[in-house]
């Protein structure tokens, strides 16, 4: 039986998935209610854009609904859910790249990152700082970015990240290390002092 609060919440999700697999739509609605915020925040950190994050979160739950009967090991639903979310993020990113190719405003985002990175002293407030860090996080290579989000914001263990991404624990650690190092380099270039934050 579950003992901690986290275990209770996870156990509740497992029960909801079991009911959803039997066709209980109310249970599925509750499952969405439980996980919507988590998947949204995961997507938001991936894209840094509310609309895209909402779009990806909705697509994720549609995919979950379609494939819920294919989930054999209910206990591993968390990795399965994040894997679907990540696939949806990748798909959306590809879609966005195709759009950007046609857009006259291409590289606007990258330019914005550069601007915020070079003049941080003007925006040295909590909200701006958050935006600067989010932009920097988005500039990272996809595999490093995902590991950082999963570890830093989703609180996953290295074993869980490795299972979700289908990589070894060492690879996950290595990606996290290089991701943090790259972020540190961006920070140093921007003359933003982490010690002053």
């Amino acid at each position: 039986m579950p003992e901690t609060l986290r275990d209770i919440a996870l156990y509740h999700s497992e029960c909801l998935i079991e009911k959803s697999q039997k066709g209980d739509n109310h249970a599925f609605g509750k499952l969405v209610g439980l996980w919507f915020k988590r998947i949204y925040n995961f997507s938001l950190k991936y894209f840094g854009d509310h609309d895209l994050a909402m779009e990806v979160t909705q697509r994720t739950f549609i995919a979950v609904y379609k494939n819920i009967n294919g989930l054999k090991d209910i206990k591993s639903y968390k990795f399965w859910l994040y894997r679907i979310a990540l696939n949806q993020c990748n798909e959306e990113e590809r879609r966005q790249k195709r759009k950007t190719w046609f857009s006259i405003f291409q590289n606007d985002d990258a330019q914005r990152v550069e601007e915020t990175a070079y003049h941080p002293e003007k925006e040295f407030h909590q909200k701006e700082l958050e935006e600067i860090l989010s932009n920097m996080l988005r500039r990272l290579p996809e595999e490093q970015k995902v590991v950082i989000i999963m570890k830093e914001y989703e609180g996953m263990k290295f074993r869980e990240i490795a299972d979700t991404l289908g990589i070894s624990e060492n690879t996950a650690k290595s990606r996290l290390y290089y991701g943090l190092k790259s972020l540190r380099k961006y920070i140093d270039k921007s003359e933003l002092k982490l010690e002053n934050i």
Binding site: T4, L5, R6, I8, A9, L10, H12, N25, H26, F28, G29, K30, V32, G33, L34, W35, F36, K37, R38, Y40, N41, L44, K45, H50, M54, T57, Q58, F61, I62, Y65, K66, Q126, L129, E130, L133, S134, L137, I148, K151, E152, Y153, E154, G155, K157, F158, N170, K173, S174, L176, Y177, L180, K181, L183, R184, I187, L194, E195, I197
Partner: protein, 279 residues
């Protein structure tokens, strides 16, 4: 310890996934080497910086569950796939409606002899009947005037007849009521007076009777109206009471649902809190 090995251990230490023994050993390593210590501090500060990116609150989508428990997600999926074709469907639907209306109203457009003709039913291609001659118009006006005259004449005759009839009836009434009024004063006999009094009395009785009858009918109507109104009032009151009971039941149901939602939200916040605490 190689660089790659150190990096992995550094990360494991940084995220507190190291056993206590390994932890102590690793702390000694970084204490002994200022360069490694600097690297550790850099990454630790970076983690602190990242903690400034907070969680955003978001409203989950609203679900509608119908009586038959139809999956809203399937309809949502269907709607999404339909959305892609929405512009084409809209254009096709508009065209179909236009063609259908055109078909039923025999709408036609033709261009002939440097003239464009748009109309319903069949368009007459000849120009000869398009304009009317002066004679035709005069004939039409004369016909309308004749019709109007005939109508006025008929109405006048009817009015005249009605006036004549009324006049004749008045004349007749006048001649019958002459009896007593036209008699000279000296010629009124006692018998005539008795007859007149009897007649007046009878008339009074008749008038009184008719008054009583009409009063009784009015009273009956009044009572009926009062009873109907009272019955309507009772019915309205009953409906209002039923509505109030229904509203109370709905409130109760709503409260129950909101309590359920609160429980779900609490569970969701537990998930979030626990995830954040794990960091």
């Amino acid at each position: 310890m190689g660089k790659e090995e150190f990096n992995k251990e550094l990360i494991t230490y940084l995220y507190d996934e190291m056993s206590s023994e390994d932890r102590q050993r690793f702390e000694k390593v970084i204490e002994s080497d200022p360069e490694l210590r600097k690297e550790f501090e850099d990454l630790r500060d970076m983690r602190k910086g990242l903690s400034h990116i907070g969680e955003k609150e978001v409203m989950e989508p609203f679900f509608l569950w119908d009586k038959h428990n139809v999956a809203p997600w399937t309809t949502f999926i269907r709607k999404r796939s339909l959305l892609m074709f929405k512009p084409f469907i809209a254009v096709a639907a508009s065209l179909s409606i236009f063609l259908l209306i055109g078909y039923f109203t025999n709408f036609s457009i033709s261009y002939q002899d440097s003239s464009l003709r748009i109309g319903f039913n069949q368009i007459n291609n000849t120009n000869q009947n398009l304009a009317m001659s002066q004679d035709d118009i005069a004939k039409m006006v004369n016909q309308e005037i004749a019709k109007n005259n005939a109508y006025i004449f008929t109405k006048l005759s009817e009015t005249e007849n009605s006036v004549n009839t009324r006049f004749a009836s008045l004349e007749k009434d006048n001649s019958t009521s002459k009896g007593i009024q036209s008699l000279p004063e000296g010629l009124v006999t006692e018998k005539d007076l008795d007859t007149f009094l009897t007649q007046t009395r009878n008339n009074n009785v008749r008038v009184l009777q008719s008054y009583l009858e009409s009063s009784s009918v009015q009273q009956q109507e009044y009572f009926q109206a009062v009873i109907t109104e009272f019955s309507n009032y009772v019915e309205t009151q009953r409906t209002e009471d039923l509505r109030m009971i229904r509203r109370s039941l709905l409130d109760l149901q709503e409260n129950q649902q909101s309590q359920k939602q609160e429980t779900d939200q609490i569970l969701a916040s537990i998930l979030s809190t626990v995830n954040t605490q794990n960091n």
